[in-house]
Symmetry: C2
Subunit: 690 residues, 2 copies
Amino acid sequence: MEGAQSFLATEYYYLGIFMVIMSIAIFSLLSIVTPEDGRTRNDEVRNGIFSTISFVLGGATSILSGYLGMQIATYANARTAVEARKGIAPAFMCAFRSGAVMGFLLSGFGLLNLFLAITVFLKFYGDDWKGLFEAITGYGLGGSSIALFGRVAGGIYTKAADVGADLVGKVEKDIPEDDPRNPAVIADNVGDNVGDIAGMGADLFGSFAESTCAALVISAVSSLGKEHDYSGMLFPLLISATGILVCLATTFIATDLKPARVIAEIEHTLKMQLIISTVLMTPVAAGVALWALPASFTLSVPSSTPDKPFDEKVVKNWYMFVCVATGLWGGLLVGLQTEYFTSNRYKPVQDVADACRTGAATDIIFGLALGYKSCIIPTIVIGIAIYVGTSLAGMFGIACCALGMLSTLATGLAIDAYGPISDNAGGIAEMAGMGEDIRERTDALDAAGNTTAAIGKGFAIGSAALVSLALFGAYVTRSKIDMIHSSILDPRVFSGLLLGAMLPYWFSAMTMKSVGKAALAMVHEVRRQFNTIAGLMEGTTRPDYKRCVAISTQAAISEMVAPGALVMFTPVVVGTLFGTQCLAGVLAGSLVSGVQLAVSMSNTGGAWDNAKKYIEAGATEHARELGGKGSDCHKAAVIGDTVGDPLKDTSGPSLNILIKLMAVESLVFAPFFYNCAHGQGLIFQFFGLA
Amino acid sequence: MEGAQSFLATEYYYLGIFMVIMSIAIFSLLSIVTPEDGRTRNDEVRNGIFSTISFVLGGATSILSGYLGMQIATYANARTAVEARKGIAPAFMCAFRSGAVMGFLLSGFGLLNLFLAITVFLKFYGDDWKGLFEAITGYGLGGSSIALFGRVAGGIYTKAADVGADLVGKVEKDIPEDDPRNPAVIADNVGDNVGDIAGMGADLFGSFAESTCAALVISAVSSLGKEHDYSGMLFPLLISATGILVCLATTFIATDLKPARVIAEIEHTLKMQLIISTVLMTPVAAGVALWALPASFTLSVPSSTPDKPFDEKVVKNWYMFVCVATGLWGGLLVGLQTEYFTSNRYKPVQDVADACRTGAATDIIFGLALGYKSCIIPTIVIGIAIYVGTSLAGMFGIACCALGMLSTLATGLAIDAYGPISDNAGGIAEMAGMGEDIRERTDALDAAGNTTAAIGKGFAIGSAALVSLALFGAYVTRSKIDMIHSSILDPRVFSGLLLGAMLPYWFSAMTMKSVGKAALAMVHEVRRQFNTIAGLMEGTTRPDYKRCVAISTQAAISEMVAPGALVMFTPVVVGTLFGTQCLAGVLAGSLVSGVQLAVSMSNTGGAWDNAKKYIEAGATEHARELGGKGSDCHKAAVIGDTVGDPLKDTSGPSLNILIKLMAVESLVFAPFFYNCAHGQGLIFQFFGLA
Ligand SMILES: [K+]
Ligand SMILES: [K+]
Ligand SMILES: [Mg+2]
Ligand SMILES: [Mg+2]
Ligand SMILES: [Mg+2]
Ligand SMILES: [Mg+2]
Ligand SMILES: [Mg+2]
Ligand SMILES: [Mg+2]
Ligand SMILES: [Mg+2]
Ligand SMILES: [Mg+2]
Ligand SMILES: [Mg+2]
Ligand SMILES: [Mg+2]
């Protein structure tokens, strides 16, 4: 798999350039801010320097995490294929353990670096904890901006190859998935690693980093920060740290106590990981909240009485346990409903499969309807979490909900990484000509992996929504917007809301079109090779895999620029030109609209994929009625699956990062935006409307 | 076409029952409100009675409009087919004139009834203009709730038939559109009338009624209302009335001065109607604003200073002209960009057609991307209109923007109705076996009609967004929510925002699934007839059209209940249980998210339809390369077209009504919601959180 390495090398080269430019921007924009409220020029410059340092650190951690994840995955793919010769149980164990290694590595690494940064920064900031934790938010920005490019580039890479390979291989030439005669097969398998492993790892690492930063920056202005309560301040990190231990304990259940021995047990075993880690984490979170936090402390929350901007809210330590538990269980609920809508063991996907009887059009209509419907429960869960979190502890409560949801991150990552590992093990088995029975085993591993991958996406979106809201809360405070100036009756806020709601659509238009264009190029190349290379179809000549890899690489790198620029520039342009209120509207609008679009895209795509697998596997009476591989139903299902690929693996998951990244970027640059015409925006100032 | 009549009879029977129940609900809920602020029991009962009367009047006007529109359309279809024997010019003239008759009838009728209601109500209300115009809002509720059911039921009817007819006829049996051998052909053509004519007419009538009501209820508490300035108060009606005259003058250009004589001129002639009516309306609007309104007057707008809830804002009469003109020109811009994205004379649709080379999957990926992208400009236009309107004259400004956009309603309706009229003329020509050349003429008329129908949908969505926002503003005032309590930092508002953003998805899931299910049933029936009726394929036996009509009718009636209930119950449930603030969030959330979803659905569907027509017509070198009718490209395009049918004709257009209807319903019931625990919501009161 040096294809993956060389792609990452190219990608990281460009990301390196991006980080240098961005570092200069962060440093200079934050340092030139006119000091106010008793701050000095030194304070501003220090904020510029340390924000930049934490940005670089966050970005570097993300890059390194992606790289290490890839290394593990590449090794694990081959190993799992080899183990599959011995049977289901050893193959499952190998894929699961590899996923777990990755989960623990990424979450431990992210936590450690953040802790080190705080410890070192303390030396320079001394008593100014508020300043310190404001600068630390750069860590989240760094992690998330790398994640954005990773997700977008990886998503385009993997889906251009996947769609291209399937359209010619499966639809036109009737050769199986991962057949070595298909010129795009290497690109497809490299794509699974760079997209689903490196991209997803970076995404969830970003969520973790941002929710911790959001919690820290909010609690820095609480009595915890003011009174220098070190263990209280580190509460967010303690939740994450104990979460890792809980997840570690949970894995023993899958590896030693009750490992999956037959195919039917796989999905159940993985799902139990999620449930058990949630159950175990609950008392642990209670213990941490009671131990680390003082019995009660005070938080500044936006005031709803007109005469002062902030109320002091008294918060008991067990409130914070309630917030963490709400997030924790809310995440599980979202995960389980995602499973219901995307696993082919339940009615929704079976209905979609059934709609294939009348062709691809009804398959697609039913799949879209399924995705739209799957938004209901997550939205209600997130809505309740928002209400509970805010009522108990303002935006700090929301941040703790997000931390709770992410406290089982290591398990989530493990079962999520399991998916592409077994997918690619199948690819290797097929390409190495390992035989039908081995391929069947890896296929079974992979079908469960499709569902757990969808669960992982559900988590990613749910936590992204809460994280963004917490960051949004911190941004609003930092840019001095009060309740009145964040009213939806204010035209700037409402116009912002509307524009923000449009951004996920604009962004998705770009990424979908990129995948479509790249897939077209791939299709033409694969067709060309089949038409011009003699003996290819007979298997006597090898295809030119390298050209397909080059097409994917080139498309991914060049097409990541425009959507990346949209996300990176929007907060800066809106904040500078139209002011902080409009930006607040944009953030809220993109959040509420992006969540729906992301959930519906992921689940629609997952459902189509598994509807196709349902028809292929023919495990039930109903499934066999649909005709199995090669039937008209199956052809229709393949079209649905192909449409779903960019939805679920490119556009959908990138939207999480869009909403998080815009929020954290706004938070980091808030002092600069406020500095432009006191947050009124240069355009409005120019027209005298400020 | 007694099929259409009998369907409408069934539909109106159920709508009659709905209206009786709803009338009882309106009367009783509003009458039991505890009088406050110096109001008496009598005032509340009077509000209950007159709100109910205007509700019934609005509903009845909508039903009658739909019925008359249908009558005209049914007559016009046949007449256009006959005229097509003489040539393009007479056929165009006939279709266009019929559309114009319908446009003038609907807009004139809606305006007249509203004016009569105001005049009669004045006798009973005397000096209490505020009370009068609050009661008049029932007119908007009546118009819009009938429109909802009309759109949903009509949309399900027409698309179940259309999809069913196409999937078996075009895809499986390779017989042309509207072939009399297809058992679903009658249902398809009836559907065009009930869905595209009756549904769309009711929708735009609803927008008109609601925007006028919103403007009236807001200006009733301005100095215009307080000082009983009659001509000032009737400014909204005067704009609509002069708009009708301007549109009348504009039609002479298409009928007498520069009628379309050849195919290439049709789309241009229709588009010019829109442009010219906009140009002519501009000075007229200026004249009306300067004549009807006093040089300056004062409005109550929500205050941004903490110590009082309202500011008195001084508004000059020419401000109102600016608002009307912003809406007027904004609507034109939205219309023209819709044309760009859905007409096959431009690159976007041609790209989608080109993507058919690699099959249905890429066709669909490109089409979805096109729809997402087409959200950008309308959102920016609406965002600017919101900013301009609110800055100049608060929510009254927004209402006037909406009125401006709708002032050319008669022209919009005319060119919109033109589409289904020529579509069905083609159907009649085909079924009557009128010959190839006549069918070609009606096809050319219809292709232009597809684009103008998309333009009409663009208008409908743009105006719906502005109307909803104006209604939302009136609702907020009536339920006594100030700036602080509508802050997005308030957890009730934000949770509401998120839930609201989810509603369009839930609603679309229902309507898409309904179309899918009904289409499946239709496909099975059509296949059954082809398989069991001997001589059907040879044309010697007639199919059983009635059973297909019955399937569509039954599906439409039974499937309209659930989405209708979702829209009708949500405001009542949220307002009563979770309070007025949460409802404000829900309204804003559904507005910002629904606009995007509606625009993208309409344009995606329109683009797929015209991509298919582009391949069929083969008018350019590029189009001919794609292979024409029956080629693989064409087959892929038909799948895209079929997926697009429920998007553009059922779910998308219904979303306009969803956002408007929830807003107007909230406005009407606002006193009742406020009456429940002072707007805090019964649930929160129960838990002591009120
Ligand atoms: K995959
Ligand atoms: K149509
Ligand atoms: Mg594939
Ligand atoms: Mg792949
Ligand atoms: Mg694979
Ligand atoms: Mg897979
Ligand atoms: Mg797939
Ligand atoms: Mg059709
Ligand atoms: Mg039709
Ligand atoms: Mg037709
Ligand atoms: Mg048509
Ligand atoms: Mg169509």
